[in-house]
């Protein structure tokens, strides 16, 4: 049930070359993709294919060598804290702050007062109520990542960029997190770009799966996922789901070196 709205976020011929000591690294090459308003797009590719580079360019953290990232048709040239929320690999909580202070960190940076009712609602939805005073090291990996989702959603950004957020979690926790994420997304309908190297995860979450090639990162193919929503873990056992995994896996393998996970 893709909702083709206007292109919320689009990259146009995005190219990024890093100058390293061992010569230039072509991380991203002429990458063009449209992400529509309210759409959940997974960007799938092997490790080191420039997925993170793409996301950092989308967020305005790094400049592109050439090409453009457009948000609502306007080029992004720096961080857009009011429109874009970023969720990082690992939870990236600040270890010297407790959970509440971590969630209030973006408000502090922006100099606004925390939206306490919104935060309380998100804590409730993520099952973190009662842990506000806990330090990050006292929380499990899943709880830390849930806290980082609360931190991003508390800002109510229109676009959510997620960089392999559940990559470090075990398979069970990851399923749980994916379900929670879909639930939150169905309530808020943010535009989501979700980077992963896990095919099953990508299909389970996305409206569309964008497959990237490795070095340089190019657009390989875009797959429409027509699984009905709300999605359940049961669906991942269906032949149709498994067939889709195989299809994508074959396509990637045909394209050369691969490092994709199948679950």
């Amino acid at each position: 049930m893709t909702k083709p709205g206007a292109a919320k976020l689009r990259t146009v011929e995005a190219t990024k070359i890093y100058e390293t000591k061992s010569g230039p690294v072509n991380a991203l090459e002429a990458f063009t993709v449209d992400i529509h308003d309210g759409e959940f797009v997974c960007i799938l590719g092997p490790s080191g294919c420039g997925k993170t580079t793409l996301l950092w360019a989308m967020s305005g953290l790094h400049a592109l060598t050439s090409g453009q990232v457009l948000l609502d048709g306007e080029p992004i040239t720096g961080p857009r804290p009011h429109e874009i929320g970023m969720i990082f690999q690992e939870a990236n909580l600040l270890p010297w702050r407790n959970l509440r202070q971590n969630i209030e960190f973006p408000f502090e940076i922006k100099g606004t007062s925390p939206d306490r009712t919104r935060v309380a609602g998100l804590l409730e939805a993520t099952g973190l109520t009662g842990f506000e005073g806990a330090m990050p090291r006292e929380l499990s990996g899943g709880m830390q990542q849930r806290a980082s989702i609360v931190r991003a959603l508390a800002q109510d950004p229109a676009v959510l960029l997620m960089d392999e957020p559940f990559g470090a979690l075990d398979a069970f926790t990851r399923d749980e997190m994916n379900l929670l994420l879909l639930e939150l997304w169905s309530e808020t309908r943010k535009t989501v770009a979700f980077v992963t190297h896990n095919i099953g995860e990508a299909i389970f979450l996305a409206d569309r799966v964008v497959v990237m090639t490795s070095r340089p990162g190019r657009l390989a193919r875009i797959y429409e996922i027509d699984l009905p929503r709300p999605r359940t873990i049961e669906m991942t056992f269906e032949p149709q789901f498994i067939a889709q995994i195989q299809e994508i896996k074959r396509a990637v393998e045909a394209g050369g070196p691969h490092a994709l996970e199948v679950e």
């Binding site: 890093y18 100058e19 390293t20 690294v25 991380a27 993170t52 580079t53 950092w56 967020s59 305005g60 953290l61 790094h62 400049a63 040239t77 720096g78 961080p79 857009r80 804290p81 009011h82 874009i84 929320g85 970023m86 990082f88 690999q89 690992e90 990236n92 600040l94 270890p95 010297w96 960190f105 973006p106 502090e108 940076i109 922006k110 330090m135 990050p136 090291r137 800002q155």
Partner: protein, 288 residues
């Protein structure tokens, strides 16, 4: 519209942690914050029993061997003069040493901390000042005291100056180690919310460096105390000080009073250690 931030090096984003050993200063902080404190009554009782045994053991050996008190003071004599003469013989000198130490530490550590923040941001400044810092860390500042005394007069200031010179570089090198820790992901996080360079310093770099800054203050304090006492032994002000008392009492062969001064200095050192232990527990426990 915002500029692309310069805080983040334009490298391939990598979140790999640096090897742990790089984060460690001259003193292993984890060792400091993980010292266990006595828990049960049995443990506490044993610790006290051993201390009492050592105290009276030394006393007994000195009495049995009939060691003259000018060779080794008896513990009971030391404690007796410490209690009886504290206000008259020791407190004024303790106050002099404390003033030299605290003022010197305040000046030295402030300069060291500010310089650490600057040199870690400006590699060129670091290259220019590094040789002097290394020279200051490796040269015993006590050696400068006679010179400072001649130049700066007979008040407290020459020793204050020496304490600042001894403690400042220690704070500097440790704080610089702390400020050099760059956690790309955390800086990116702050940047993604639009943080300014100053906000990144205050909310990310400084807290990240804080455990090393505390270590720097502890090492600096101990070097400062050493320099204050040693400086007084070499060339004390007209007001004296604990170091000057050490020289004075030993020249009069009043070893019980000498021992009392040693106890006071040792207590100061331990107090510094305990203070920073608790500061570390409060402000840097997230790291241990």
């Amino acid at each position: 519209m915002n500029q692309v931030p310069t805080e983040l090096r334009d490298d391939i984003p990598s979140f790999e942690e640096k090897p742990d050993s790089q984060d460690r200063g001259p003193i292993d902080w984890t060792g400091l914050t993980s010292i266990s404190t006595a828990k049960s009554a049995l443990e506490i009782g044993t610790i006290i029993a051993v201390a009492v045994a050592v105290f009276f053991g030394v006393e007994a050996i000195l009495r049995v061997t009939d060691t003259p008190t000018y060779v080794f003071p008896r513990p009971t004599d030391v404690v007796q003069t410490l209690v009886a003469d504290f206000g008259s013989l020791y407190a004024p000198h303790l106050w002099v040493t404390m003033q030299e130490f605290l003022i010197g530490l305040a000046i030295g550590s402030t300069i060291g901390l500010v310089l650490a923040a600057v040199i870690t941001q400006k590699p060129f400044v670091e290259k220019v000042v590094a040789p002097y810092i290394i020279a200051m860390v490796t040269t015993p500042m006590i050696a400068l005291v006679p010179f400072l005394r001649l130049k700066l007069g007979f008040g407290l200031f020459p020793i204050v100056f020496a304490v600042a010179l001894a403690s400042g570089p220690m704070v500097l090198i440790n704080a610089a180690t702390g400020f050099r820790r760059t956690d790309l992901a955390k800086i990116a996080l702050a940047r993604s919310y639009g943080a300014s360079t100053f906000q990144i310093f205050r909310k990310i770099r400084f807290p990240l460096a804080l455990p090393m800054i505390i270590v720097g203050f502890m090492v600096g304090s101990i070097f400062g105390l050493l320099t204050a006492v040693g400086g007084e032994m070499v060339a004390a002000s007209e007001k004296g000080g604990l170091g000057q008392r050490l020289v004075f009492f030993s020249s009069l062969v009043q070893m019980d009073k000498f021992g009392a001064v040693i106890l006071i200095i040792a207590a100061l050192g331990v107090a510094i250690y305990v203070l920073f232990y608790f500061i570390g527990k409060r402000w840097a426990s997230w790291e241990a």
